[in-house]
């Protein structure tokens, strides 16, 4: 007799019942061949039959019934082909052939940069570099003499937040794989703080180089919106061995509270750009190393160019404003 497997999924736990002989009865009563403990399941809920090699599901429950491939069945036996999806009252189950192909083994892959992040040495180094950056940033923006302890008290809250995020990320691996992937979690948490900061420095440099804030703000926004979900998704793929699409979904979901905050900021920024602003928007960046693409020009040439450029823009805006005013009146 061909063997089949009944897979039941109860509270996320998969159980496999090997069936050698038919008919096999399933229910909550102890005289069944397979006993399922769920209050919604009838004492004698269903039977699986084998009539001349064809598998049949026979619903015996008058209470919550049985579904085969999402269709509720009556009290007559229904023939099914394998694999078949069953729903025994509220319990999900599958009837599988023993020779059914299983998914390919996911090899624990330590390829590329992630391997570095899983190494305790590199993770520590990343953490130290990020904390050092906190100190440097605070030091650069303080124009007075301060004690090292003052810097420490200023930097500590950011360090705690970073470690907190690290624990949060590690708990994702704990929940799904029952393992604490602390080292890569610390690496990712460090990167979450480090990468946007580095992008901001690059953006700042670019803003001066090109005498325009455009590229800089693009880099800043991409760091805000893309880098953190990408890092989280990489962590999920590499530690939980999930596929990219669900991993990105989980990453975006986990980041969504922060994302909502960032989106709000971006919308404000965009509405300021498209709406009225009392503050003139111009390139403010100044760098100690005067590296730039624009050459120094004479005052006379600058005045000519400035007059031409601003007149054109202002006239366009004026025309638009007057059209709007006419429409309103």
């Amino acid at each position: 007799m061909e063997k089949v497997i009944l897979e039941t999924i109860q509270r996320g736990v998969h159980r496999y019942h090997k069936i050698d002989s038919f008919p096999v009865t399933i229910g909550r009563a102890f005289d069944n061949d397979i006993i399922l403990q769920d209050v919604t399941i009838s004492p004698h809920h269903l039977a699986i039959l084998n009539e001349n090699g064809a598998y049949q599901i026979h619903n015996l429950s008058n209470e919550n019934g049985t579904k085969v491939n999402k269709n509720k069945i009556g009290n007559e036996p229904v023939e099914v082909s394998l694999p078949a999806n069953l729903q025994i009252s509220g319990l999900k189950a599958r009837l599988l052939a023993t020779d059914m192909k299983v998914e390919e083994t996911r090899v624990q892959d330590c390829s590329g940069l992630f391997c570095i992040f899983s190494s305790p040495i590199w993770a520590t180094l990343l953490l130290v570099v990020t904390i050092a950056l906190f100190f440097v940033d605070r030091y650069l923006s303080t124009p007075v003499v301060k004690e090292p302890l003052w810097y420490l008290s200023n930097v500590l809250p950011s360090v705690w937040v970073m470690l907190g995020i690290g624990i949060l990320i590690a708990s994702i691996s704990r929940l799904s794989t029952h393992r604490w992937e602390v080292i890569p979690a610390i690496s990712i948490a460090s990167l979450i703080f480090l990468v946007p900061q580095v992008f901001e420095y690059i953006g700042h440099f670019m803003a001066y180089l090109f005498t325009s804030d455009g590229l800089g703000s693009w880099l800043k926004n991409s760091a805000k919106f893309l880098i953190i979900p990408i890092l989280l998704a990489t962590f999920i793929v590499k530690t939980v061995h999930s596929k990219w699409l669900p991993a990105i979904g989980v990453a975006v979901l986990a980041y969504s509270p922060f994302l909502a905050y960032q989106v709000l900021g971006l919308v404000d920024e965009l509405s300021l750009m498209s709406g009225f602003s009392k503050v003139p928007s111009y390139s403010h960046t100044l760098l100690p190393k005067d590296i730039r693409l624009n050459k120094t020009i004479s005052l006379e040439q600058f005045a000519k160019e400035a007059e031409k450029a601003t007149s054109l823009n202002v006239e366009r805006m004026l025309k638009k404003a007057k059209e709007k005013e006419e429409k309103e009146s």
Binding site: P143, S283, S298, A306
Partner: protein, 422 residues
């Protein structure tokens, strides 16, 4: 003998004082009775509610049906004739509508017309010498017709608008009323007060200019009020800037740079440097200069300001990266104006690197235009020294309600006078 002489002198002085006082009182009483009937309350009425929105005073001038007042008294009506209307209130309680015929936004004057004769027109006389007794008339705080005695302190030398300083207590509601010499002739129009008997009058010569213009065009009302305002403001701004351009500027040293300081007597400069603290690692010096005039356009908009400031920053102890963090933070210039999106467009800016005083500077010009006032712009200029690792210099200049080309000319001229000294 000596004591007798001194007693006689004292008596003479005392009696002279008494006579002057008595004369002034006689003048005040006669002015009250003769001129009082030519002074009215001018009211801006909300068409929807029928209630008064603002009040001031006005007086009959030149013709029996022509009244003069301040621009700011009737500005609500000028800016929004669909929402408001004008009327006068006489001392006997009579009310009737008025029509606006001309105004001078720069000197805060307006001329209105009534359908019927309003009384004996007052006449304009030149400003009497400093110290002369003056009588100011009006309707303060809606309390009724009042006469205020004070003295002439001459035309303000430091201000551009040429107002007269009047030592008498003007109060809200008296705006637009006449100030008379003791013969009862108009020498000025009440315009503002700073409290403590420091008040200001618009010289009657500016009213004469409007009246001459009106006489020539047969008292024809102004057609496009915004164009009329814009033309006046632009002409005034051009006049001021051209005067500044022709002035000999005083200069000052700030750090390694010599810059122009006071461009005109109407501009005052102040030191606004932060007091250094013991643990400061960088020093900064700030000088701010501004003109004290501005033109009242509406209750939410004043224009005609010229402001500029110089900032010098230097350090011995900070690394270039650390120094530039703070230098850059200071490189954020804004323009102090209450103009909103109904008044002006957004700013359009242009930034590039220019050579000034043989040094490299990052220079920006920003311009925005007034929507209703054609040809008027707010201009903001800023320039920052670059390429020096431990020194920084910022120069900001801004104008509200100006001609963009004239403002740009002044900016470049100022930059051309910068000198670098090692």
């Amino acid at each position: 003998m000596l004591s007798k002489i001194s007693s006689a002198l004292f008596l003479l002085l005392f009696s002279t004082l008494l006579i002057t006082q008595a004369q002034a009182e006689i003048a005040a009483t006669s002015i009250y009775s003769t001129v009082g009937k030519s002074v009215y309350q001018i009211r801006v009425i909300n068409k929807q509610t029928g209630d008064k929105s603002s009040i001031g005073s006005g007086f009959v001038i030149n013709k029996e049906n022509i009244l003069a007042t301040n621009y700011h008294v009737v500005s609500e009506y000028i800016n929004d004739p669909d929402l408001f209307r004008l009327e006068y209130l006489a001392t006997n309680g009579e009310k009737a509508p008025l029509e606006l015929i001309d105004f001078d936004i720069v000197h805060d004057l307006a001329v209105v017309k009534s359908k019927k004769p309003m009384g004996t027109p007052l006449t304009i006389a030149p400003l009497p010498p400093k110290g002369a007794i003056l009588f100011s008339l009006g309707n303060p705080m809606d309390l009724g017709f009042t006469i205020v005695k004070g003295s002439n302190n001459g035309i303000l030398a430091k201000a551009e608008d040429g107002n007269i300083l009047f030592s008498g207590s003007l109060n809200p509601g008296m705006s637009g009323g006449p100030t008379l010499n003791k013969e009862g002739h108009v020498i000025g129009v009440n315009v503002a007060t700073s409290g403590n008997a420091i008040s200001f009058l618009v010289s009657a010569e500016y009213l004469n200019i409007i009246l001459d213009r009106l006489e020539k065009n047969n008292y024809k009302p102004v057609e496009d009020r915004f164009a009329h305002s814009a033309e006046q403001i632009r002409a005034s701004s051009k006049k001021i800037v051209n005067k500044i351009l022709n002035n000999k500027w005083s200069s000052k040293h700030i750090g390694n740079i010599t810059v122009p300081e006071r461009l005109d007597k109407s501009i005052l400069c102040w030191d606004a440097s932060r007091k250094p603290k013991k643990d400061d690692l960088l020093r900064s010096y700030l000088t701010t200069c501004s003109n004290r005039d501005n033109i009242y356009v509406s209750d939410s908009l004043n224009i005609g300001t010229i402001n500029y400031d110089y900032t010098w920053m230097q350090t011995k102890d900070l690394s270039p990266t650390r120094f530039y963090r703070h230098y850059e933070k200071r490189n954020h210039s804004i323009i102090g104006s209450r103009a909103n999106k109904r008044d002006v467009t957004n700013f359009s800016c242009h930034t590039d690197f220019t050579q000034i005083a043989s040094q490299d500077f990052k220079t920006t010009v920003c311009r925005r235009d007034y929507i209703k006032y054609e040809g008027l712009s707010d201009m903001m200029f800023t320039t920052a020294l670059v390429g020096k690792e431990n020194k920084g210099f910022l120069f900001n200049l801004d104008f509200t309600g100006t001609d963009s080309k004239t403002a740009l000319k002044l900016f470049t001229r100022m930059l051309e006078t910068f000198k670098w000294k090692k």
